[in-house]
């Protein structure tokens, strides 16, 4: 495709989107005229200045004081714990399913039904799962964890089988010709070959679940979202906004952390630091270790 073809295609898509937008909106522009004024009034009267009292202790707390007893802290910690458990649970269930769904490991009559199952898990967002589970389990973090885990299975499972399908064919063929079982080929050939991607996806999924954990709290499934929802109910937007900023800071921190860890497991990072032992070392030390190792290799 030539460059001007590409530009024309993009312009055509933008035009199509604009026409679709007009079609969807019809004549109902709502209060778009005065929206900016409304926003300014809402911001200056209800949100600003932020009410940081959410960082103060709000008893009852067991053995914790000050900040560590605040809704912001207890809420975000609960969200992090929920996301962690849900991600690990989802990962452990999704991985065997992904090997069944991968077309290079399983016959079509196995892979197609598993794929349909994974899409079904994925087609309901975790918030809908949470609403279902709240009916069964009741309000609290357990419903939130299961909701996230169910969505994780569908979403992570898809990412995983796609990376497994992307592994080189030669090792799989050698394993098949040798007569290794499917379970052996999956465990000892396909998963190790795709390991870098699988780890990177796991970290991404954790970060995703932390973000979604916030939303789940709003329907009553625990975590910081529960506190945000409480503040919204009392129209305490200044407190809710303060809590949202806490969430924002944590999400950015996790994103940076996961970017950092992922840099070790992508192919380029792989070349940079070939040892798993250095994954959790600070970059400077890891680089020095690597430098030492590569000079040793050259000497040999």
């Amino acid at each position: 495709m030539r460059r001007h073809h590409f530009i024309i295609a993009i312009l055509a898509l933008v035009l199509l989107a604009w026409m679709t937008f007009l079609d969807v909106v019809g004549d109902d522009w709502g209060r778009l005229d005065g929206s900016l004024d409304n926003l300014v009034i809402f911001f200056s009267e209800s949100i600003w200045p932020l009410d940081w009292s959410v960082l103060d202790a709000s008893p009852p707390c067991e053995g914790a004081e000050g900040f560590f007893c605040s809704p912001a802290y207890t809420g975000i910690i609960e969200t992090l714990k929920m996301a962690f458990v849900a991600t690990i649970l989802g990962f452990v269930i999704a991985l065997p399913l992904a090997t069944l769904a991968a077309s290079n490991l399983s016959p079509t009559w196995v892979s197609i039904p598993v794929r349909i199952f994974l899409s079904a898990m994925r087609s309901l967002p975790s918030i809908i799962w949470a609403i279902f589970l709240l009916i069964f389990i009741g309000i609290g973090p357990v419903a939130g964890i299961f909701a996230m885990a169910l969505y994780t299975i569908g979403y992570l499972g898809k990412l995983q089988y796609e990376s497994i399908e992307g592994v080189q064919n030669a090792p799989l063929e050698a394993a098949r010709a040798m007569g290794l079982k499917r379970s052996e080929t999956s465990l000892h050939v396909a998963i190790p070959e795709a390991a870098n991607h699988l780890i990177s996806q796991l970290l991404f999924m954790f970060e995703y679940n932390v973000r979604h954990g916030t939303v789940l709290g709003i329907v009553g499934a625990g975590g910081i979202g529960y506190h945000i929802n409480n503040q919204l109910k009392f129209l305490a937007y200044d407190k809710a906004a303060a809590l949202l900023i806490v969430v924002f800071i944590v999400v950015v921190a996790i994103d940076m952390l996961s970017m950092y860890i992922r840099s070790f497991v992508t192919e380029e990072g792989d070349v940079k630091r070939p040892s798993w032992g250095t994954v959790f070392l600070p970059a400077g030390i890891a680089a020095r270790y690597h430098h030492k190792k590569s000079t040793q290799d050259e000497e040999e």
């Binding site: 080189q168 030669a170 090792p171 799989l172 063929e173 050698a174 394993a175 098949r176 010709a177 040798m178 007569g179 290794l180 079982k181 379970s183 052996e184 999956s186 465990l187 000892h188 050939v189 190790p192 070959e193 390991a195 870098n196 792989d270 070939p274 290799d297």
Partner: protein
């Protein structure tokens, strides 16, 4: 007394149209067969069909060896698991010798673990035992693939240009070990080879592919 290990009966191989047709021959224990011919003529396709990775277009391949572990295959690109250690790769070969009920997640029995170390030692890559395969040189990787076949103890080894870019010393080591396997264990080696001189020097039989036909010629 050589035993028949595989029988090719009016075999035609290819993807859409046949590359090689009407092949009727057999592979017997204790023999080295070299497949020669210009590139693109279907040597790899033939070997992959014998390995059971492609269905024959016509005729049949009858493999008279156990389905599990009876056949070893070293593809052109070696088929090693790049992110795993040398040991883990060679263990894959030995894993074929466990029973079908041996769980995939369970470690290998002690005897097989010993065989794995012996194979690695024989190929002279013991110092790389725990190194991931991807950091090894091309020649070392070929030794790992050979060690994997050695630990597997298959009855037929199908090797697709596995001497590849090996230097002379490495060719000598690998060939000596493979020959030993054929003579001592009575397995059969079927190799596609570009180095015609080497092939003629070690092969008992030559399959020459020309104009879509397989001809048996003297080495």
């Amino acid at each position: 007394m050589p035993k028949e290990l595989a029988k090719l009966d009016h075999l035609a191989v290819g993807y859409d149209k046949p590359l090689i047709g009407d092949v009727s021959t057999s592979i017997n224990s204790g023999e080295i067969i070299a497949i020669l011919g210009p590139s693109g003529i279907g040597k790899t396709t033939l070997i992959r069909t014998i390995a059971g990775l492609i269905a024959p277009l016509e005729g049949s391949v009858e493999r008279l060896v156990p389905k599990r572990g009876g056949l070893g295959y070293i593809p052109q690109r070696l088929g090693l698991v790049r992110h795993m250690s040398v040991k883990a790769n060679v263990e894959l070969g030995a894993r074929c010798r466990t029973s079908i009920w041996h769980p995939a997640i369970a470690p290998l029995p002690r005897q097989l673990r010993k065989d794995v170390e012996e194979a690695i030692e024989k190929l002279g890559i013991l110092e790389h035992l725990n190194d991931p395969v991807r950091i090894l040189s091309g020649g070392q990787q070929r030794r790992v693939a050979t060690a994997r076949a050695l630990a597997q103890k298959p009855q037929i080894i199908l090797a697709d240009e596995f001497l590849g870019e090996l230097d002379d010393d490495n060719v000598e080591i690998v060939l000596r070990i493979v020959k030993q396997m054929v003579r001592k264990q009575g397995c059969a080696l079927v190799m596609v080879e570009h180095h015609e001189e080497i092939a003629r020097s070690i092969a008992d039989r030559i399959w020459l592919i020309e104009d879509g036909k397989l001809k048996e010629v003297d080495p």
